[in-house]
Amino acid sequence: MQNPIFNQVWWIIGLPLIGFLIQCFFGKNVIEALGPAKGKRVMGTLAVLAIAGSFGIGVAIIQALAELPPHDRGVIQTGLDWIRIAGIRIPFELRIDPLSMTMVMVITGIGSLIHLYATGYMAEEKDYPRFFAYLNLFVAFMLMLVLGNNLALLFIGWEGVGLCSYLLIGFWYKDFANSIAANKAFIVNRIGDVGLALGMFLIVALLAKEGIADQRYLSYDVIFKALPGIIEREPMMATAIALCLFVGACGKSAQFPLYLWLPDAMAGPTPVSALIHAATMVTAGVVLLTRMQIVFIASPIASAIVVIVGLFTAIFAALIAFGQTDIKKVLAYSTVSQLGFMFIACGVGAYWVGMFHVITHAFFKALLFLGSGAVIHAMAHDQDMRNYGKLQKYIPITCATMVIGWIAIAGIPLTSGWFSKEEILHEALFSHQAMLGGFNVGLAAGWIGFVAALLTAIYMTRMMMLTFWGGQERWRLIPAKNHEDHHGHDKHHAHAHHEDHGPDEHAFFMTDEEMAAQPHEHEHHHELDENHKPHEVPVSMWFPLVVLALFSAGSGLWLKGHEWFGSVPKNRLENWLVEHPHEAHHGTIKYGELVPILGMWIGVAGLILGALWYMRGLPKSEGWDLARWNPLRRAAGNQFGYDAAMMNAGIEGGGTLATWLWKVVDSKVIDGAVNGIGGLLSGVSKGYGWLQSGYTRGYALMMLAGCAGLLGWIVYAINNMGGKG
């Protein structure tokens, strides 16, 4: 007998969707009716409630799920058929299992906190309901992505979150740069989506050939039952499917060849960066890999490629982070880098560890992003760390919470990040999953991973030191008025704009006319200058920070347990996510005794190194004058030229190709043929007008001819068939 609470799973998706509809259809009216202040409060509350309600249902369901025996934790709720054509059936069906419910917890839990935060962050925004409509819609799609029981529903969610990401990156669409960033995110993601779609088609093709009675070829329960047998016979197919899916995952989770869009995506409002581009959407790739792990486990080569890509991304993005001056960009690259870690975990076959890092990362990265949002909010929407310094004095709550996020991501022992990261590297070192021609890629990745962890600790320390401590309050150096005359300032502005498409134009909340029309809101929006006095954020914004800080600090311990805290159950998450947890790692490795020491101290070492280097504030070699920068750092700032190269290849190469296609192929060959046929047909058509004379007698004659033809045929047929039917 199934627990009736499982039937309510539809509401998990339904509530955000309803929230979206409410924001869409009533948002503007409510704000007009109640006035901006009260109306925004009402709509904001509704938006938060929609997600919080989902969270509540999720908690109820996850409790019910936990009561089931482990091998029964895969409940499927089937609704209507969506597609049912010859040979394939795709119903609307949701899957309640540990993986999906864990993600539901992360999405709705962190989602509601971020919604709450956004009600404060976006308070001055005119298009308030539009923002929350997108945000609610995003949550709905993301939930569909994780809850759907087939790849088609996952694909709806996948595309839906992509759409919402696009809409939210370009939320301030009047700034052209934001629109470009949104387009970039959308287009780069398309490449990944092609891979995902191909993978799905492959699976359908394989299963259809197999002739399985249950035609829900894309449903997980069918795939899991049928696919292992197939790929055992055809191991190449496992590799092919795995690589196709991995391309999709690379796109959405911003892995190396396709990570380009994520840094630019920082153009969106900061809550968006926290929710979509750190905590939830970008982990969709990891979720996909975890969901389809049977395919990857069957293919060591694909696993090795996953590890290599993940490792390279982790190191590469960490290096780039050193060259960034925009606080959100640093966090963006750190996200890319941490996603690399998750892929390493998936590649070496430790999928639950990947999910572990997804969860802890969601906490501390959302925290860091929201904190950075608070900083930006406090600093009149300036995002350049070179203008910060000693902010700890002004925004102590933000600073305190961000410190927790910082030590978590740096991997200071007993913080959540330490647990998950250490687990990843440990699993990598002792795994035999990712093999490439006899070479254990996982082992190498484990060792090199420590370097990436060290780098992470250092650049995060750099960010924190530049923002909160250091020698002086550097924005005091910006003169109050006429910054057009200020040479240095102007120059760096121009440069910053050239360098990336970030929202450097701080005051892009309204057009000039709107600003003029609303003097009150305008006053809020002064430029950052020497007279600026940073102020702590309102409670609706720091409350989520505090909650997230608690989780960043404690979730690792709670989920994993540690020998120092005997009362905390061990391996809670592993037992939850893995049906048959295996104990005690396999064999020993060279220098294996170093591993615990490194795991314990590498983060601390990075922290100390970074603190020493940046204790005295912004070094001259990272200041406004780029000429004085270390060439390596300058290269890192430019993403080692990768972005520019790809963009040039894409845009200019594409342009050349397109021009050729247009000028030669299209206008000569195709147009010629098409116009020729068109002309011919209209000629025939006009000629037909001769038959359509308008005279009734002509028509009657034609009918007579038709009749004669028909009867003639009958006579002929009777003669030839001899009356035989």
Binding site: V715, I718, N719, G722, G723
Partner: protein, 152 residues
Amino acid sequence: MANDFTPILILVGLAAIICGAMVTLSWVLGPKKVTPYKSSPYECGVTPSGSARERFPIKFYLVAMLFILFDIEVVFLWSWLTVFVDPKMGSAAADLNFQVFSFVAIMVYMLLWIIGDWYVLKIDAINWDEEAALDAAKLGTVLEPLAEGDAA
């Protein structure tokens, strides 16, 4: 099968060919001397006056059509009556049964027919007054444009 019909087809074909040949050949071979007298419609000598394509009142058609309606009515009623008076169903009860049923049926028909005639009278279809006949205004159907749809 084929043999049954082939001779007939051949016959039809021959007839068509012969007819066509006669008309065509006389048209091709015959001398053509056109005089006004010869090309007049009536060779008997009556001089035609005016065009034959003259309009004449459409009411002639109407009367003809209405006449057909009455015709049909008579045909129906007559054939029904001959059976109705003496159904010869075998028993008196069956006779009565049939008479009741057929009477009702024919009355329904008559009702419809009378409504039709009524309509004809109502729209003055048989009113030979040039001014009034068939004027839609008789039915009160001079339509005023409604304010809604036609404001332009």
